[in-house]
Structure formats: C-alpha cells, structure tokens
Amino acid sequence: MKLYRIFLLPLLLCPRFERAQIQFEEIAERSGIHFKLENGAAGDFHQVELMVGGVATFDYNNDGCTDIFLTNGAALPSLKKDSPKYYNRLFRNNCDGSFTDVTEKAGLAGEGYSMGAAAADYDNDGFVDLFVTGVNRNFLYRNKGDGTFEDVTETAGLTGVHPTYGKMWAIAAAWIDVDNDGLLDLFVTNYVGWDPLTEPTCGPREHRFYCHPSAYPGRPNQLFRNNGNGTFTDISEQSGIAKSIGKGMGVAVADYDGDGRTDIFVANDSMRNFLFHNLGGGKFEEVGLMAGIALNEDGRPVAGMGVDFRDFDNDGRPDVAVTDMINDSYLLFRNSGGSPFFDDVTTAFGFSVATRRLTGWGIGIYDFDNDGLKDIFSANAHFPGLQEYLAVPSALPNSVFRNLGNGVFRNVSAGAGRDFQIPGQYRGAAFADLDGDGRVDVVVTALDGLARIYRNISPGKAHWLAFKLTGTKSNRDGIGATVSVELPNGKTLYNQVTTSVGYASSSELPVRFGLGAGTMAKRVRIRWPSGRIQVLANIPADQLFEVREP
C-alpha cells in the first residue's frame, strides 16, 4: 500500500499531460501531387508576387472523391503563362490515395496571372464549375460533365473588367445565392489598382522592398447576378456593393442575423473589414463598424488576409475568424446576436497571445478531431524580405488551434505531427475529406514551394456525419443552407453549406459534423435557401449522407 502511494505520488504531482488530439501527415509526393507555386518574381518586387496561391477542393467528376485544383502565377511583367511551370493544375483523386494530373485533358491550364478559385455548380447541371480570379482578368470554366471544362467567361460576362476602373486585380470569389432564386450569384473581391509598368518602388535603392498596401489605390468589389441562361449581370452598383472601396482579400459568406438571406464578409488589407448585410431584393448595406467586426479590439484596421465565417461556439450563429499580419493577432469575432452583433473575443479566447507572432493567409474553422467542437487551422508565412527585421525566417509552419470548448483555442501545432512542423511560405488552404475516412484533410499551397497535402490522422474513435445537399428549388449545391444536428445527449451542432473558405480558396461542398462519442444524429434540421425546412431523424454516424430538397 505504501509502495503504491509512493508510486502514485509523482503522477499526481506532475502537470496533466495534454496529448494533442489533432495530427496530420504530409502525403503530397506519395499521392502523386507535385505542384510548385511560381510567382514569376525576378527582383522587381511586384506586389502580385506576394498574393498568389488559391486552391480549390471539389469533386469535378462526381465519383465521390474530392479532387484538387491549384492556381499558379505567370511570368512578369508579361503576366503570361509562357511555360508549363505556370499552369494551373487539376489533380483527379483516384479514390485509392493517389492523384493524377489531368490539367491538360480538363482544359484548365489557364491564362494570365491566377490568384484564387471558387467552385460551385452555377448552372445547376449537376457538375461543379470553376471560377478563377486573377490579375487583370478572371475566368469562368463550365464543367461539361465529361472530364473537360469550357471557358465561358466572355459569354457569361465575367472577365472582371470594371466599367470605371478597367482591368481589376481580383483575389477571391464566393458563390452565393443573394436573392434565393435558386441560381448562384458571384461575389468577387478586388484588391488594389495595379500595373506592372507603374509599380512604385519602396525601400532604399540598395535594399528594395515590397510596398505597403497604402502605396496602391483601393478598388470596389463586384457582385454578378446569375441570369439563369449562362450569363451574369454586374449588379455591383445597384446592390450597393460598389459604394465601399476597399482592398479586398478573403471572402466568406453566411447568414449572420438569421433572416434567411446570406451575408458577405470581406477581409481587407490594412483597412477596416466589410460586412455586407443582405437586405433582400438584391440590395446590401455595409455594416461592419456597427456590427463590431470592422476593426480589431484596439479600434485599428488589420492587414486582413483570409476568413472563415462559421459557428465555432455551437450557439447557432456563425462567427468569424480572420488571419492577418504579425503584431495584429488573428481576429476572432463571436456572433452574440446582440447589439453589436459581434463581440471581439480574440483576447478572451486566447488568440491575442497565441497568434501575435504569426502572419496568416488561409484559415478554416473545422472539427479536425471530430469531438463536436470546431477547431481552427491557419496557413502561415511572414512576408518575404522582412526576416531581418522580424528576427525570424519568413517561412513558418502552419498552425492548428484546438477548441477546448470553454472559450479557449489552444495552439496544438507542436503536437500535430512531424510533417506539420515543416516551414513554408504558405498561402491558400482548402479543406476536404480527401480519403473518405471522415476526418478533414487540408491542402495548402506554398509560395516558391511545393503544395502540401495534410492527411488528417488524428487518433481516437470519434464519430462523424457529413451531408451532401442537392437543392431542387434552391441552388443545386445547397450553398447557403444551414444544418443543425441534435445528438442523443441533447447537444446541438450547427454548420452551413459554403465553399468560400479562407484565402482565395474554395473548400468541399459537404457540410460536416464531428459527433464525438455520438453514434447517430437524433434529429437533423436543414433550412434550405428557398426557405424550406427539412427535418430528418435518426441518421447513423460515420457516413456521407445525401439529402435532396423536398
């Protein structure tokens, strides 16, 4: 008995060992994905070189396995993909852990200096289409359903050339049904006015730098209404979107006030963020300041990059997480539904200290360990050229923050596996269950480096449930639908269908839930964009459940 006590004592005195629940392994090369993000930098410090790297995860051939599309840069100052090294790439998931480069067959090598991607079935034909943003020109690729895509940009009226400002530099895009008419409309974030031939020079002659965003004029974002006949109409002016001049980076969409209309959040670079409240009838009002979401807790604008707009505290209201630059701390806004709508919980949730030394790009709020609490992933990298001032390399490892469920996100990156510690100039990140095991994997691009595929190998036997929605009156992808899952223990989880996640990137369509120990969903409630409510009961866990709008 004495011996037992002596043996037990050190265990009791030791601090509780907190094992990281979230773990990843990097599988890009062994899966057949070899993709280097080329920005065409040749010592002229063009601003566009910093911003490349959007990625999309979507099932282009409807085989049930999620494929990967990676955007790429171009030569400078020509802005031409004059070598295959600049091609955008589509990798088909062979559903066996391997991928095949099908870019040329699919016709997706692209043109110009690409930035981001947004995937959705805009023509409701059952095949996911692709919008690619870029410098001076955007592209819409219609999925023909036979493994190939057709460039329909001109017909659709989506080149991105602005009636007042001319050619635009678009970073990200979001598919969103703004008027709930069953047709997906398109929101495009535009960054700044830029021309390679008039690039300002910053820094001393012997030590040039990339210029601060203040060296460039802002630009309005654009909203295009889907006419349902393969064409779009620019409604930026009439909708009120064009009134707000910003420096748009990431975009994410959600119905923050529960009025059944999807709203739009835009992370701006070194300016206040925008929250476009959907008033209905195709009208929007920018309400970021009044909603408490435009600035950080100190009332300062941050260098906003990526954003995810998702309920991280399971209260049924979508919250917001934003990546930004070193010294700012990533922002966390909790939607309280009060006045103002959002509380800045960056400090309260432990993010001020945990992220102040980071610069972030892609971000996603997903339940990586399926414990019923959504965690946060961020793709990190400081701007190149600043390492001598920051006294740290610009390449950083990515981060994963575990939601402890008590209002704290803990940085568990160090325990997320050896591969997860690899530093890089990371940019875009897209999220999907690539191997069908119910755990959310991550695809991350890296400037002047290889794309990484982080396969989620988190241990444990937590259960999960995913829903693939097919709209009938609503848009076919069900984008904008909100889903709640009630567990047998009475706990309710919330999520919504969106592909607009992070920085210049697009994530899988299925909406996912970690059920923890729960082996079934007792009740599932879907609110479709059409307004229809659908209720399902007793759905067993650990499956991708397909739901058709009644």
Partner: protein, 308 residues
Amino acid sequence: MHIATFALVLWSLTPKAQAPATMDRVEQLQIADSQCRLKQFQEAEKTYKRLLAVFPEFTEALAGLGRCYLTMGRASDAARVFSEEVRRTGEDRQANRDLAHALVDLNQFFPAEHLLKTLLAGDDRDKESWYYLGVLMYQNGYFGSADADLEKSIDPFSTDAARATQVSIYRAVCWVHLGRTKEAEALMTTLAKDPNAQKDPDLLLVFAQLLYETNRPGMALQRIDQAILARPDLAMGYFWRGKVLYSLGRLQEAATAEEKALQMIPEFPYPRSLLVKIYQAQGRTDKAAVQAEWLHAYEEHQNLGTPH
C-alpha cells in the same frame, strides 16, 4: 624695418586678439549648453546661433545646437544641423551617430537604418548605435530585431541608470509582443519598483495589456490608473481604461473613459471604435452611428492611398 615692425605688431596683437576670442567662444558654448540643460531653449538657441555667426566653422557649437534641438523635440532642425556637421567632419563617428539619432526621432526608417548599420559595420562595439537601431526597430514594430539590438546596446560599465532603465522598458515591451509573457511580467514587476520606471506610462500600459491578455483585467485596471495618475493627459490611458471596463461589462464607466480620451484628442480614432460598441450595448444606437460615420470619413481620408 617697417616690415619687421609690422610683423612685431602683428605678433604682439594676434595672440592678444585671439586669446580672448578663443576663451570667449568656449565660454559661450558652455553657457549655451547650460541654458539648454536648464531648458532655457530660446536663450540657448540664440547663444548657439550668435556663436556660429561669429565662428561659422565652430563644429562643436553646431553639434551643441543639434543636440539642443533634439532635447527640444525639434528633430527636423537637429537633422539639418547634424547633416551639416557630417558634411564638414566626414566620417566623425559622433557626428554621424547624432545624425542617426535625429533620423530615428523623425522615424526616417531607411536612412536611419542605413547610417546606423554603416556605423556598426565599422565598429560593432558601438553601444550607442545599437541603442538607436534598437529604438528604430522598436518604434516600427520590429520587436524581434529591436530586442536583439537593445540587448547589444547594454553596457555593463555604464553609469547611465536612466538609459539602462529605458532599455529594460523597451525590452519588456518587446517581450510582450514576442509572446515571452512570463519573462516580460517578471521584468515589468522589477521595473515597477525602479523609481526611473515606475511612472513610465508606456511601461504601465503595456503591463496592463499583458495583464488584460492573460485574463487579469482587475490588475490591468490598477496599472492603467497608475499610468493616468503619472500622466493625467494620457489619452491612451483613458482608451485602455474604457477597453478593460467594457470587457468587464461596466458600460457607463467605459463610455466615460472613452469620452474623456476623445476630449483630449478629438481626432483619436480608437476610442470612437469602442464607443460604437459601448453605445450600442447601452441602446444608444444613434450615438453609435455618429461615431461610425466619423470613422468612415476618417478612413476615407487616411487609408485609401492615392492613384499613380
């Protein structure tokens, strides 16, 4: 004979003529320096200028005038004077360092950095240059390099206690920003007992920030109140007071603190951002909207950049 007599006269006159003048200019320089130390700035400036009008090549007077300008907070004038001194003296280390000091005060980042790094390339034991390089990095938010540079500026044999304290304050702030919160807190706790530091508002506010960010808002408020006591015109102190009170749900007190900050500096945007939230939480939506409108207009003027 005539020439010899003339030479003799010249010989006899010259020392007599020069000796009082030499004494005079040194004495006058001492007077000017003393006036500057006593913060009799107008008189000091006049004395330096009078001296330089009579002895335009008197570089010590030029240096004195430049340093006095720095004391006055007139860094632009100081930089102009030190530039002239550097032009005359060439590679004189002190003159270049003085110029760098002025450039740091002006936050002319690239010229200051270039000059200081050139000085340090010539002698990396130059503690003074490390100090100014550290300050330059600090005030531009490059806390990693600021901390490293400031560490190199520490002279264990120095008798300048005020400088040593200032370096410690800067480093403590750096550590907060670098996430070295435990070390920062330990150093700040030590500094709080140092008479040279315990009333430093920057230190007290960053200490408050650290306490706030580590979920000790009550202790943060104490530090903020100390800072305000030390500097009753500290608008940033009132801003922080309101911020912490808002987090505690003490809305009316938070509003009062932010309004006080605005009274001090009407163009101060941060309190307005918080007032938008506080007024809404109080149900005073119209007042919140006025603040939001002000912030919209402010940003349009400040941050949109200019086309080129």
